[in-house]
Symmetry: C2
Subunit: 526 residues, 2 copies
């Protein structure tokens, strides 16, 4: 029997604050540091590895974290989730995004159907459709092939698919699986849609409208924007648009779309990159085979995340180190720093994934919790970030835990040797140097040039960023965040915090305002 309990109710949590803290600058120095780098590493899916040598943990801390995992029944909670329990208690929904890429546990029936079969069927429909678009069996009215796909969606319908597209665009190009350029329209700011429409040839563009409910205001507004542009070019919008939505949405059975692909209420927007939300645009852009590899990587990582042994479960381990940092060491932020330009928008996706999931003050029973929950997430790719905000990370007055990602090889393989090393070697040398600089610091009589060190980081290392390792990377973070949600006993799968703004915006637009709302409306001429 699973008990959903608050973090501060378990013995291991109390024990955790009594464990002697690790002095990172000291333990990471000399040969002991080298030993830690070899020891504190765990294999991930798709050939990746999670190395946590530069985190403020040792065997003592890890032992207590293992007890915490056990006491809080973390893997049992994951089991309950993937076996179809209603884990999204607020909205009374199952949580089934894992099932879009595989089935770890029991078959799950809902809405009168086997859910794994349902997700597979949707991806099969997408595959068939994408193949027809690529072969020219589906064309525009003039019989020309579509060359561009434009995703219209916001939040989870935008950030994840966009980050994945950018992550694989160049890989697909060098591996000859690049089919169509993708663009994204998300913001209700009319300049967003207008600018994208200015850069594409609408006659050869296919639009993917993504809204689970079919009622997202930004997305419907941008759909109209696009339809106007299509009509303005003398085209029939219904021949240029597909919908990704739920079966019960107004978009599902409309003649306005060439096709409709379905997701359901059991896939949260921010967890939807492996569903039709990511599947349609990525299969069209890169071909269904590439998307299948991406799903394989994610499925492999999901299996690993079910491991009961903390030290063999990178997602749970990463999660609990984060809880230790947040609740015992008292750090408020986490920076995500991929040393890969292709991952330029991966931090923006994780920002949503993490902050929207665990930025909560009440537990799953609606009771205020007495501890901090989800951190603020931010990040930019290295080495760019080094020349931007690393100053504060090294010498600022607050400690920010760091999550590095690095690959031995570049995606495109094109490189140049300067000062006896390639750019890729320079890139890797920089991430190595940063980890050690943050951990160990440097003494200097000039305090301005003094580095305190003791700034914790982990690194995920891979051979190359490809569809499979990207899928594994994405799933790792999804599962990490899920485990942190379990530890904090929050519901990571709803987002009630976004509702109030929507309600008030409607009142502003209806001019049903007074007080500050009216005064601000006047200032902005609404």
């Amino acid at each position: 029997m699973i008990k959903w309990n608050n973090l501060d109710t378990v013995e291991a949590y109390k024990e955790l604050s009594k464990v002697e803290p690790v002095k990172l600058a000291s333990v990471m120095s000399g040969e002991n540091g080298a030993e830690r780098v070899k020891k504190y590493s765990v294999p991930m899916a798709a050939g990746l590895a999670f190395n946590y040598a530069a985190k403020q943990v040792d065997d003592n801390v890890l032992n207590v974290l293992s007890k915490l995992a056990e006491e809080m029944q973390l893997t049992e909670k994951f089991e309950a989730l993937y076996n179809g329990e209603v884990v999204n208690t607020g909205e009374k929904r199952l949580v089934l995004h894992h099932m879009t890429r595989g089935q770890i546990g029991d078959a799950v029936q809902a809405d009168g159907t086997d859910k794994r079969s349902f997700y597979v069927e949707q991806q099969n429909k997408i595959t068939e459709f994408a193949n027809k678009v690529h072969s020219g069996a589906i064309t525009n009215a003039a019989g020309d092939k579509f060359t561009t796909v434009v995703q219209i969606g916001i939040g989870g319908s935008d950030l994840g698919p966009r980050a994945m597209y950018l992550a694989l665009e160049n890989w697909a190009k060098v591996n000859n699986t690049f089919k169509m350029e993708a663009k994204f329209i998300s913001n209700v700011d009319p300049d967003d849609a207008a600018a994208v429409l200015n850069t594409i040839d609408v006659e050869h563009s296919l639009f993917v409208l993504v809204s689970k409910s079919g009622t997202t205001l930004e997305t419907l507004t941008n759909e109209s924007f696009v339809k106007d542009a299509l009509k303005g070019a003398g085209l029939d919008p219904s021949k240029h648009m597909v919908a990704v939505t739920s079966e019960t949405s107004p978009l599902a059975k409309s003649d306005d779309y060439l096709a409709a692909f379905f997701m359901d209420d059991y896939i949260g927007g921010r967890f939807s990159s492996t569903s039709a939300v990511g599947g349609a645009v990525l299969s069209l852009a890169f071909g269904p085979d590439l998307f299948a590899q991406f799903l394989d990587g994610a499925a492999e990582a999901d299996k690993l995340a079910a491991n009961k042994d903390l030290l063999s479960n990178p997602a749970m381990l990463d999660a609990l180190i984060g809880v230790y940092e947040r609740n015992v060491l008292g750090y408020e932020n986490t920076a995500v720093l991929p040393y890969s330009q292709a991952l330029s928008r991966f931090p923006a996706h994780l920002q949503q994934l993490d902050m929207e999931s665990n930025g909560k003050s009440v537990n799953r029973f609606g009771e205020l919790v007495n501890y901090q929950t989800g951190p603020v997430i931010f990040g930019e790719p290295g080495t760019n970030g080094q020349h931007s905000f690393y100053q504060l990370l090294h010498q600022g007055t607050d400690i920010v835990p760091l999550q590095f990602v690095g690959f031995k090889n570049s995606q495109m393989g094109r490189d140049v040797v300067i000062q006896d090393s390639t750019s890729q070697q320079k890139l890797c040398a920089n991430v190595v140097a940063q980890i050690v600089a943050f951990a160990c610091g440097k003494d200097d009589a000039d305090r301005n040039k003094y580095f305190e060190g003791g700034r914790p980081s982990s690194i995920i290392i891979g051979d190359k960023l490809d569809p499979k390792s990207l899928g594994a990377l994405l799933s790792h973070f999804e599962n990490k965040i899920m485990y942190q949600g379990f530890a904090w006993n929050v519901n990571s799968f709803d987002q009630e915090g976004v509702q109030l703004g929507k309600v008030l915006a409607k009142r502003v637009l209806a001019h049903e305002t007074d007080g500050a709302l009216k005064a601000y409306s006047d200032l902005l001429n609404i």
Copy 2:
């Protein structure tokens, strides 16, 4: 006589913690809220306004902040800076970025020349060069006009110019001043340069190499990358490249470049958008006239920032409210949330500007300070952010102060009416709704749907984002950050925190490593 003293040494700072804190949810409710919105607003340059009604301040707090400004001689310190005092004490340099757009105070002589004349001369050289490129007086070897300009630079040579380019790209297009498309190569990751080179026609591309010292490893590496591509296409690189550098750099007098435009040691990288660093690429992309308007907006804001009266000095006011939030209210982060897709990378630029300037633990005399300094800065454009991380901002366990930016009109003027309102109206309604939702919250018996409120924000409001208002916006933040640096008594103009990583990276590349450095190097196959 100016006294450079620590924040916690002045009386007003002690007084500040004794002032009754403002209960935002209460004071922003009802007609009192409307009064605050009208009252707590100050005009900025270029028609912008800074509204701080939803900050946790009232007349009492503002009075003490005024005293603090006076006691710490903040405007006198700015005066000293623009009159040519060596304010960058660590590197023993003047700080003259204001002079790239105007002269507020005395003439400043350095390096045997009048600095204002020097910066004007450089911009005149750029203007002449850009006009020749646009007219076809300067062409490629085949006599064709250049169509694309590619900036090669990192950090301040990348983030600011890139953010400004994106901010004005569509404005320039609809106002018929768009001359050449710009691209940016920054990361040492070889995939960055390779991807950009794949999307341009090198034969018609002009490259702007930006490095003050002429020794930035990333930039020189990417220069080689580009030169290889030019040679590979049978072209002479020296006919396709210009340099932006200091007069003493190895790039200054090289035959490898069509032209060289100069900056100097008195312009920090992150403050260089109004110097030749931004001037060359933006003048080439949009024409020198547009860049001149941008400078005008910045110059106007600089003048305002010299105002001695706190309530008439938006930059100093914004700065001190931030200090109050950081040091008295104890908030660790600030989110920058522009409701304008054109400002999509403006938060990334501010992230560098702020975190690299004030992420310090020692004062300008190299002594550890006993208070928190610069916050972590992050942000994304609204409404996108609403569907991403706003959940945590509304209901998370930490309070994050917010900095909104909004404009009454879109840049491109193309819009659509859905449900009786335009997209632009929806955009504005959303920012208004968010400010009030954050400030006032909402009661609900269901704690999951309860909003505590009390979450402070300010908003900068303008008519439209155009070159002049963008210049004013940029300068506002530069001056805000400068004033915060004065208040914290840190040197905001050096960045010693980036040095250690560079030193260690060199050791890794030279294989002069042991311990953890070697162990990580092995993992990444260096």
